[in-house]
């Protein structure tokens, strides 16, 4: 379990992280959200022991930082922002170096390296120097490095940044599959990632916690929670008639589609629409209900 207790980080005049407390248990995949400059990366740097908090305490599975940093670091796999790696090393050399430092020698080291190379499909670039790799490969090398010791805690700063949709899918699958008994913290501002991966979301703005919820709870805060999008055929002036429905709070239209936000607590908006269509003799071409829009919640909470 990772536990942050009233952690703050002050840089000269600037307070990057302000009194942040939360804990994450094994099996959780925590999405760490916030606008650029909100303090996400600083927080991750403190959890990994790279930075020391100005005040407050951090504890990783009973090891408190910074006093027990060496033990704590052994449990962590970390992908820093931008997936830095020594460009003049080959992928093979780099991964063997990391395995060496993680204490895996000889055959076991070889096995560890082979395992991550397979998991992240790095075989074809195994002997290339890192600086010649594409952004996607570099990111995967960074992930391989973080996974080599099968860590208890995995901290990934924008793990899918720069990957194409296929690679994103694979990396997410990888993270999902390994997270059963691990603590995973992912910082991202790709909101689809939250839906795809996270069991819990923490949002920070200006270094302060603004939200700690499950993705579903977060979506429920959206104005578009339970919003209905509908398209009719042969409809005359649907805009006005839809707007007249008492259960509708707000109506938008784009490209012949209408999106209706229901009144809070209003039930049966779908029935209202169906009845309206029947009365007016419109055919419903498509109709779907949204779970809510995370970007909308994100803006509401952090802007």
């Amino acid at each position: 379990m990772i536990k942050l207790d009233q952690v703050s980080k002050q840089f000269d005049q600037f307070k990057a992280v302000d009194n942040l407390s939360f804990s994450v248990g094994a099996g959780e995949v925590l999405g760490f959200l916030g606008p650029n400059g909100a303090g996400k990366t600083t927080t991750m740097k403190m959890i990994t022991g790279f930075l020391t908090p100005s005040s407050g305490s951090i504890e990783l599975f009973g090891h408190s930082l910074p006093s027990d940093a060496l033990q704590a670091k052994k449990m962590i796999g970390y992908l820093p922002e931008g997936a830095p790696a020594w460009g003049d090393m080959s992928v093979s050399g780099f991964l063997h170096f990391i395995a060496d430092l993680r204490g895996y020698k000889g055959v076991e080291g070889e096995q560890r390296v082979n395992h991550v190379v397979e998991a992240l499909e790095l075989k074809q670039v195994f002997d290339r120097t890192i600086e010649t790799l594409s952004k996607g490969f570099k990111r995967r090398v960074g992930l391989a490095q973080a996974l080599i010791h099968d860590p208890q805690i995995l901290i990934l700063d924008e793990p899918t940044d720069g990957l194409d949709p296929n690679q994103k899918f694979k990396v997410r699958e990888l993270i999902r599959n390994l997270s059963k008994d691990k603590v995973v913290i992912i910082s991202t501002h790709i909101l689809e990632e939250v839906d795809a991966l996270c069991s819990r979301v923490i949002m920070i703005a200006d270094g302060r916690l603004v939200c700690d919820a499950s993705p579903a709870e977060l979506e429920a805060q959206s104005d578009y929670h339970q919003a209905i999008t509908v398209r009719f055929n042969h409809a005359t002036d649907p805009q006005t008639k839809l707007a007249e429905l008492s259960s509708v709070k707000h109506l938008e239209s784009a490209e012949g589609r209408f999106t209706l936000q229901p009144q809070p607590g209003a039930a049966g908006v779908v029935d209202d629409i169906k009845q309206l269509a029947q009365r007016e003799n419109w055919t419903i071409e498509e109709l779907y209900i949204e779970k809510g829009r995370l970007d909308d919640v994100f803006r509401k909470l952090t802007a």
Partner: protein, 244 residues
């Protein structure tokens, strides 16, 4: 410290991962030969020793060592690999020392490649090989002290050029404090104990003592203390630098 060899190995092999190391060694050998034969007049002195060769080493190192040292930490800071390195289960001291030792050994390799010169003087005459040996040792120790200064300067900035210039400037100061001319200037307004102190900080004076064949424990200690001090400072600077 059990992970120090792993860091050391990676660093040292990274020197030879690019042609840069070979180019560096070749230039080092050419320049040291020019100093020895053309400027120093190796043959004209008519003596079977390597005094002229070693005389130029402080000046040789003034440019070569900062060139090696500048990338030690600047590059890590610029590319962000410092974050990767220092979140691995190693101590900062292991990283500082591992990097330093690799660079120091690299300079040692360049120095060893001048051994044909030693063979040559033995072929030409009958030199005092003891003096030559201590001179090599002194030269390598001095390069280590330069390098430790460079390590610290390189930790202060992401910019290798700035690191290079800072190191040259500081190393220059540590050379010229031993010049009689400089000492004459300061002795006019400083008490003699201070002048002695300044003179005792000079790399030149300690190196000259060793290269004359006088292997005084204090001269060796001087360079070792210099290295330790500047490496300690390197660790402190990195600790500060990490915070942004």
């Amino acid at each position: 410290m059990n992970r120090l060899p792993i860091i050391f190995k990676r660093e040292l092999s990274s020197y030879f991962a690019t042609p840069l190391a070979y180019v560096f060694i070749v230039i080092f050998l050419i320049v040291s030969s020019i100093f020895t034969f053309n400027i120093g007049g190796f043959y004209e002195t008519g003596q079977a020793d390597l005094q002229v060769f070693f005389n130029f080493h402080p000046w040789l190192y003034l440019f070569f060592v900062p060139a090696i040292a500048m990338r030690l930490w600047s590059e890590e800071l610029r590319s962000g690999t410092v974050e990767l390195l220092l979140t691995l289960p190693i101590k900062l001291s292991e990283a500082v020392l591992g990097k330093f030792l690799a660079a120091w050994v690299f300079i040692g390799i360049a120095l060893l490649l001048t051994l044909p010169l030693w063979i040559t003087v033995n072929y030409l005459g009958d030199p005092d090989n003891g003096i030559i040996f201590t001179s090599y040792l002194g030269s390598w120790l001095m390069s280590g002290a330069f390098l430790a200064i460079g390590s610290c300067m390189s930790a202060t900035t992401q910019n290798q050029v700035i690191a290079f210039i800072l190191t040259i400037s500081l190393c220059f100061v540590f050379i010229v404090t031993g010049f009689p001319m400089m000492l004459a200037v300061v002795s006019s307004w400083l008490p003699s104990s201070m002048v002695d102190l300044i003179a005792s900080m000079s790399f030149l004076i300690h190196f000259n003592a060793i290269s004359r064949g006088v292997l005084d424990f204090r001269d060796l200690l001087f360079f070792l203390i210099m290295m330790t001090g500047w490496l300690f400072a390197t660790a402190i600077v990195i600790e500060k630098k990490k915070a942004g």
